[in-house]
């Protein structure tokens, strides 16, 4: 049973008046509307949802890469669509990474309550507070998002790569990721010889 997001939002605003939380409508038939939370307010909001509204079970954590922020607002529609039009044109629209949490309540049998958190951009401001201290089930899932998307979860007890190997440098689930031809390429003397052979004769027209 989908929870009543409006009531939850009202209670959240009543309890945490300073927190930035807004309702995002889901345009699809699933009607799983979501709450967009500012990264700084995430721990407070989650603590309130866990302790007061009895959302004791965090089922799923999804990472999403949005190089095109306009598309992100089409999937999770803001309440007043007209506002966001102008400033988007004035400044270059910037992509971001998003983390989505699906919460359920064991005692009340409701869910999923969908929370969204967005990073500042895709390169430098990619930090989001970890929720592992509230729901332990986020531990490996946050590690996976760190590994595959590059979101840094501050306060995570053990933030390491989980599926890729430790020496890997990129984040393969990002939309602009290009897989190398050879994942295990290492320069060898052989490569040097090949390179010398390639430059030995001047390029012909066939090349």
């Amino acid at each position: 049973m989908n929870p009543d997001v409006d009531t939850i939002l009202t209670r959240l605003r009543g309890a945490l008046p300073d927190a930035t939380v807004e309702l995002r409508a889901n345009p699809g038939p699933a009607e799983q509307h979501s709450l967009l939370v500012a990264p700084a307010d995430l721990p407070g909001v989650c603590r309130f949802l866990h302790d007061e509204l009895r959302f004791d079970y965090l089922s799923n954590v999804t990472g999403i890469d949005w190089p095109d922020p306009v598309l992100a607002d089409k999937v999770a529609v803001p309440e007043d669509d007209e506002d966001s039009g102008d400033p988007g044109k004035a400044t270059e629209p910037q992509g971001f990474l998003e983390v989505v949490y699906h919460l359920y309540s064991h005692p009340d049998r409701v869910g999923p309550l969908v929370l969204r958190v967005r990073t500042g951009d895709r390169t430098d401001r990619v930090e989001i507070p970890s929720v592992v201290s509230i729901w332990r089930s986020a531990e490996f899932q946050e590690r996976e998002i760190y590994d595959l998307f590059g979101v840094r979860f501050t306060g995570h007890p053990d933030l390491r790569r989980i599926l890729m190997w430790d020496e890997f440098v990129d984040h393969p689930m990002r939309k602009d990721y290009v897989a190398p031809d050879d994942f295990e390429y290492e320069p060898t003397p052989h490569a040097e010889v090949l390179e010398r052979a390639r430059t030995h004769y001047p390029a012909t027209e066939k090349d």
């Binding site: 049973m1 889901n26 345009p27 699809g28 038939p29 699933a30 799983q32 004791d56 079970y57 965090l58 089922s59 799923n60 999804t62 990472g63 999403i64 598309l71 089409k74 999937v75 999770a76 989505v100 699906h102 064991h106 049998r109 999923p112 969908v114 729901w135 332990r136 089930s137 986020a138 531990e139 490996f140 899932q141 595959l148 989980i162 599926l163 890729m164 190997w165 393969p172 689930m173």
Partner: protein, 383 residues
């Protein structure tokens, strides 16, 4: 099994050589790890003081592959997630896409799905019995009995889908084919034989001294901690928490069947094994009801599009009660033929979160039983 068995210098422990810790790398190529899974274990004598699972040996970025093609192209890949039970994976994915696009499923298809899902639950739990006994040292005999019965059901799947394991059978809005003639008769024969087989297996196991000694009072955690750690499925119900998605949010037509949710008391490995026995008996009950009530009609929604299928913009999270726990798919559509984001919430992966907590302070031999009782499949953990 024991590689790089170098003694650790332990600066935190004062004292003599007796306090030295030993680092053991369990896996990845050991049968008790159920696939290519590794655990970095630190031992004080026989006692586990630290345990860190290492994943990724089977990682092929399933999610990225699925995002690179149309929605239907991901269906055969879901077979390879938890390859013991492909049909429940198919159903979870089909259910999520149906939520995303708002597709209705005809009555007959729903019954077919329930029959296939419960048969899948039977083979998963039966195979589990064989594997867990193998973990305890009964290498072969229990597994032989289990696989004999599993093979009978796999034959049925082969009749229906063309493949023993890689079924690729569900479609958005129904199933791929109708049931072949005489198939239901075969199912009902297997159900009739399954009760006596379970009796035999239970007789073999319940009072078995090795099982009692190895599994009782091993690996309990407080129920609140299990909920907080996201544990689902038989693992959670063995601790006495009644949370089965077939009852909590009856997807498909599960609200029409009369069945009960078996619950454990202590949540130790013994309870986890016995819960699965009881669940198989409930599955048999569901199967019998579903076969009796199977209606005629469409096996797939005739309005559902197979080609050029474009769900409306939006996202959806759908989940089902898989044999191993809650299997969920989070899909995001940008209105094109390919999913923008395809996320799998794999029960085996999340259930491993609390592995270290369960093992701390126990012996190394118990780690193998606890890992076995979680019932993981690495195709799903590493994705």
């Amino acid at each position: 099994m024991i590689s790089d068995a170098t003694p650790l210098s332990a600066p935190t422990l004062e004292g003599t050589d007796d306090d030295q810790l030993l680092r053991v790398s369990l896996g990845p190529q050991h049968p008790s790890t159920h696939g290519v899974f590794r655990m970095n274990v630190v031992l004080d004598g026989e006692t586990v003081v630290r345990l860190k699972p290492v994943f990724g040996y089977l990682h092929r970025n399933h999610e990225k592959i699925a995002e690179g093609g149309p929605y239907l192209h991901a269906m055969p890949y879901t077979d390879r997630l938890d390859y013991i039970c492909p049909l429940t994976n198919n159903w979870a994915y089909a259910l999520s896409v149906e939520k995303l696009a708002g597709i209705e499923v005809p009555e007959r298809a729903e019954y077919m799905r329930v029959i296939l899902a419960e048969l899948t639950r039977l083979i998963n739990h039966t195979a589990f019995m064989g594997f867990i006994l193998g973990d305890m040292g009964a290498w072969g005999s229990a597994l032989m009995y289990a696989f004999r019965e599993r093979e009978k059901i796999l034959d049925l799947f082969e009749d229906l889908t063309g493949a023993r394991m890689m079924a690729n059978f569900m479609r958005f809005g129904g199933c791929r084919y109708d049931l072949p003639e005489g198939w239901i008769g075969q199912v009902s024969r297997i159900i009739d034989d399954y009760g006596p087989f379970l009796d035999e297996m239970e007789q073999l196991l319940i009072g078995n001294e090795i099982l009692l000694a190895r599994a009782q009072d091993v690996g309990q955690l407080p129920p609140e901690q299990l909920v907080n750690g996201g544990v689902t499925g038989p693992m959670l119900r063995a601790a006495g928490i009644s949370y089965d998605l077939r009852k909590v949010e009856p997807y498909g037509i599960y609200d029409r069947f009369d069945f009960r949710i078996p619950l454990g008391e202590k949540g130790d490995c013994y309870d986890r094994i016995m819960i699965r026995f009881l669940e198989m008996r409930e599955s048999l009950k569901i199967l019998r009801q579903a076969i009796d009530a199977l209606p005629e009609g469409d096996f797939i929604n005739p309005k559902a599009k197979l080609r050029n299928f474009k769900p409306p913009v939006g996202d959806a999270y759908g989940r089902i009660e898989g044999p191993k726990g809650e299997l969920g798919f989070h899909l995001i559509s940008d209105g094109t033929t390919d999913p923008y984001r395809f996320r799998v919430r794999a029960p085996s992966f999340v259930n491993l979160t609390l592995l270290e907590d369960m093992c701390l302070g126990l012996d190394l031999a118990d780690v193998v039983i606890i890992l076995g009782s979680i019932d993981i499949v690495l195709g799903e953990v590493d994705r």
